[in-house]
């Protein structure tokens, strides 16, 4: 359709003619939201970077971080992204509702493993005197890492809601769009976690 002046001139993922393609529109909107969310993470990363040395005599990264636990979290989250990818493929090749739900449940389980280990880490940090009110450094840490955790929690709730919707309505257009958007969200959180793992944990322990 290129060159046709009557074509819808907006950014397109797929050709559309005289009709707003709802799928493109919704997914594009979610991309834009992620861009905005990325700014939030970026700013909090920057804040962390300026405050990493501000321990005010309190414990620093080497005292507080447990790389073993963080490695398990990283593994769980990356595997969960893989499982979500399988769910997306099941959706795409119409392998049936059962398969999509099964892979989403695997994703969810891995998400819970991630959150469980993360909360455990936080409690350990508290016990070692690394609570957020201790110093600028601990504040920045607890501003950044739990923000990611909160996103993962939101993603988990969303996933449960989508599974229930699938049980109620089957895979209709809204569920399909929901799964597509949650996929973007979930993989986005993976990328953010890789940044946290490298900058906060590896950087802190180096």
């Amino acid at each position: 359709m290129s060159g046709n002046t009557l074509d819808n001139p907006g950014f397109r993922l797929r050709a559309s003619y005289h009709h707003v393609n709802r799928e493109d529109e919704v997914n594009f909107g979610f991309w834009v939201f992620l861009m905005s969310d990325a700014i939030i993470f970026g700013l909090i990363f920057a804040t962390y970077a300026t405050m990493v040395g501000a321990t005010a005599g309190g414990p620093g990264p080497k005292r507080l971080f447990d790389i073993g636990s963080v490695a398990i979290q990283t593994g769980a989250l990356l595997l969960s992204s893989f499982a979500y990818g399988m769910a997306s493929l099941a959706l795409r090749y119409r392998s049936g509702r059962g398969k999509v739900i099964a892979w989403l449940l695997v994703t969810l389980l891995l998400g819970f493993v991630f959150l469980g280990f993360e909360v455990h880490d936080f409690l350990t940090m508290f016990a070692k005197g690394g609570s957020p009110d201790r110093s600028g450094f601990t504040s920045a840490f607890f501003g950044l890492v739990p923000l990611h955790g909160l996103h993962v929690t939101t993603g988990c709730i969303w996933m449960v809601v989508l599974i229930v919707q699938m049980l109620c309505y089957g895979i209709d257009d809204d569920v399909r769009l929901g799964i597509q958007r949650l996929a973007l969200f979930w993989h986005f959180l993976d990328i953010v976690w890789i940044a946290i793992f490298s900058l906060v944990y590896l950087g802190g322990l180096a």
Binding site: T5, L6, D7, N8, P9, G10, F11, H18, V20, D24, E25, F28, G29, V32, F33, M35, S36, D37, I39, I40, L43, I44, T47, T50, M51, A54, T55, A56, P132, D133, R134, S135, G136, F137, T138, S139, A140, F142, G143, I157, V161, Q165, C168, Y169, D172, D174, G178
Partner: protein
């Protein structure tokens, strides 16, 4: 913890505005108590009167189904503008109160410094977040989808949620007049002053949550508008065929998407400091208050352009319409808009030149700041060239535009002065700065919004506003502004610090008196606006414009009936050129029935926006007063409502093709019945919204 404390948190009798005056009846406490109580009772009686009137006329159902739960972009836009006007009235009265205090402030005045601090904090917060933002968002909401030839925004329910959150924030600011005291930390809320150590009261919490609600709502609005413009333009409307108002709406939306997150981050981190003892911006324990200054102005400077660009868009529509010409230099105006949007992200540091950077850093940001004068200058010249040899009519929107062009250049020059760090060191935090940014925002933003209000009012309600009262208001705004703010430049150069309640040097008094006089004229301007609205509503039958094009304008929104039907366009227009409607008129292609009509899908009403408005207001109210049960309940309700919304499947209704055809034919009859008017008769009762085409063709030659 007692039961009362559990239920009411920090809220108690001492939170009432007259309590201090009752407990300790000193003269100062009594005066301030009377003023605060008067303001509080205005809020309470205003709210009660509104509720009473709606009940008396039995309009609750109408209000709920036709307005509050409506997801029609036009109605949401109008509701935004209603919020803007209500909040404008409050913040303007506060401004007059502050001017009065300073006019009598030699040796003390009548307001306590605490009260004065609250006044300038609420004035700034309201004017930016609850007057300017709702006004421009409302205007874009109303106009932009019609200009690009679509039926609604991309996410109509999210639009209603944005409105709900803004409304909740505005409600919170209003409640702060009745219960407790607002922040005294200014509209920018700098820590460490706003930290718990120095401001233990509820004030900064009111500020944090009101601003956060509005910030999140605005971010969603930005996403919504940008996606709408990228995805929903009518067939054939390429980017370079978009009307300039839509261009500025796009740039503003992009700024919202990128600039609102820093605000959210700044306020939430400050909240973590205040509520959970974090040390982001505290004095000790490794806190770093400069992070706040950077975060806030990373938002704050693009915010200035979020405010000004839509106004530029309005001027770019109004000036050609009332000059009887096409816009001059379309491409350069688009480029200038984009350049301003881009530069807005690289100048934030000029808000704190004095906070200890090296000279080289200050210099860099100073030069970047001065560069913004270039694209802005391009715009001014383009508008002047548009007027050159045009057939200019001094309609109210045009008078605002002319006032803007004169005054904005003066304000811009003072901005170039301030952009020089060494001069900024001298006048930093003086009234010179206050004069400068009011000089940008009142002629720049507010005149633009009011011009837009006059320009598009007939489109929204089907009748023109009264010209005479409108003119009186416009002149009062323009001259009142000059009298109120030009003396502030002098006062600033004489070393008068901003945000100062009293002074001891009589040299300031005459300037302060003139400024007060100006403020009273501005108050008169507001009163004229109110009278104008009342008079116009009473005379509405004589000023109807059913044909829909009262100003012989060029964009698509004028190509349909006034007021436009719910679905805007019976058939989506096909665009072949810039100024689509003007081209259609010139080629005799306007007012032609389409070949066939089809069923139209429009979104159904949704209560989600109003539910989130209530839960948002309750949750933040609970947060302010430490009523944790309320916070928990309201948050739970918020999550439940959002999840419930995800299960809704029946969200569209069909308007049958026959109904669309009937509407359209009725409108065509009205067009046929209307007498085409020449531009001389624009303000006469004969103007039914159909332009004399001979004249249009003449202008085209």
């Amino acid at each position: 913890m007692t039961l009362t404390h559990f239920i009411f948190g920090r809220l108690g009798l001492h939170s009432l505005p007259f309590w201090a005056a009752v407990q300790h009846p000193t003269l100062e406490n009594i005066i301030n108590g009377v003023i605060a109580t008067g303001a509080a009772s205005l809020v309470v009686t205003g709210a009660l009167a509104t509720v009473g009137l709606i009940t008396y006329f039995g309009k609750w159902r109408y209000l709920w189904t036709e307005w509050l739960t409506s997801v029609d972009h036009k109605r949401i836009g109008i509701m935004y503008i209603v919020i803007a006007f209500v909040m404008l009235a409050r913040a303007l009265i506060e401004a007059v109160l502050m001017r009065t205090q300073q006019a009598f402030g030699l040796g003390g005045g009548f307001l306590s410094s605490e009260h004065f601090g609250e006044l300038f904090s609420t004035h700034g917060t309201i004017m930016i977040f609850f007057m300017a933002m709702p006004f421009l968002i409302g205007l874009i909401n109303f106009v932009m989808p019609q200009q690009i030839g679509t039926r609604d925004v991309s996410f109509p329910v999210m639009n209603s949620v944005s409105l709900g959150l803004t409304m909740a924030g505005a409600m919170l600011v209003m409640i702060s007049l009745v219960l407790g005291k607002f922040s005294t930390g200014g509209w920018s809320g700098y820590p460490p002053y706003t930290e718990i150590t120095f401001s233990p009261g509820v004030g900064p919490d009111y500020w944090i949550w009101a601003v956060s609600l509005s910030g999140i709502g605005t971010m969603m609005t930005g996403i919504n508008f940008a996606v709408t413009i990228y995805k929903r333009r009518a067939p054939g409307m390429t980017l370079m065929r978009m009307p300039l108002f839509t261009w500025t709406a796009l740039c503003t939306s992009i700024l919202m998407i990128f600039a609102m997150p820093p605000l959210t981050v700044a306020t939430v981190l400050l909240a973590l400091d205040r509520y959970l003892g974090f040390h982001f911006f505290t004095n000790g324990f490794g806190g770093n208050m400069m992070n706040y200054a950077n975060l806030f102005w990373l938002f704050g400077h693009p915010e200035v352009y979020i405010l000004i660009l839509p106004a530029f868009g309005v001027y770019s529509e109004v000036i050609p319409a009332f000059s009887g010409k096409r816009i001059y230099g379309y491409t350069s105006l688009v480029l200038a808009t984009m350049v301003i949007a881009l530069l807005s992200f690289v100048v934030w540091l000029h808000h704190f030149f004095t906070m200890g950077q090296s000279a080289a850093v200050n210099e860099t940001f100073g030069i970047a700041t001065m560069m913004i004068g270039i694209p802005t200058g391009v715009k001014i010249y383009d508008w002047m060239m548009t007027m050159y040899r045009g057939r200019i009519r001094f309609a109210v929107p045009m008078v605002y535009s002319l006032g803007f062009m004169m005054l904005f250049v003066i304000g811009g020059l003072s901005g170039i002065i301030l952009a020089n760090p060494s001069i900024d060191y001298q006048v930093h935090n003086t009234l010179f700065l206050v004069a400068h940014f009011h000089n940008m925002l009142i002629p720049g933003l507010l005149f633009g919004m009011l011009a837009g209000y006059h320009f598009w009012f007939p489109k929204a309600f089907g009748f023109r506003l009264n010209e005479r009262w409108g003119m009186a208001s416009a002149l009062c705004w323009i001259f009142g502004f000059m009298l109120a703010f030009f003396p502030l430049y002098v006062l600033g150069l004489l070393g008068f610090p901003r945000r100062t309640v009293a002074y001891y040097n009589p040299i300031y008094v005459p300037y302060m008196a003139v400024a007060l006089f100006g403020a009273l004229i501005i108050l008169t301007a507001l009163i004229c606006l109110v009278i104008q609205l009342v008079v116009s509503v009473m005379q509405r039958d004589q000023n109807r414009v059913p044909a829909g094009d009262p100003w012989n304008a060029s964009a698509l929104e004028w190509s349909v009936a006034a007021p436009a039907p719910d679905y805007n366009f019976p058939v989506l227009p096909e665009v072949t050129a810039r100024d689509a409607f003007m081209v259609a008129k010139e080629h005799g292609a306007a007012y032609r029935p389409p070949e066939r009509f089809t069923d139209i899908e429009v979104p159904k009403n949704s209560p989600l926006g109003m539910i989130l408005c209530v839960t948002g207001a309750l949750a933040t109210f609970g947060l302010v007063w430490h009523m944790w049960w309320l916070v928990a309940l309201a948050m739970l309700a918020t999550v439940a409502a959002v999840i419930w919304h995800g299960f809704v499947r029946d969200y569209e209704r069909i308007i049958p093709a026959d109904e669309v055809r009937e509407d359209y034919m009725r409108w065509l009859k009205a067009v046929a019945a209307a007498e085409p008017v020449s531009r001389n008769e624009e303000f006469a009762h004969e103007n039914a919204g159909l332009a004399d085409l001979h004249e249009t063709l003449e202008a085209a030659e």
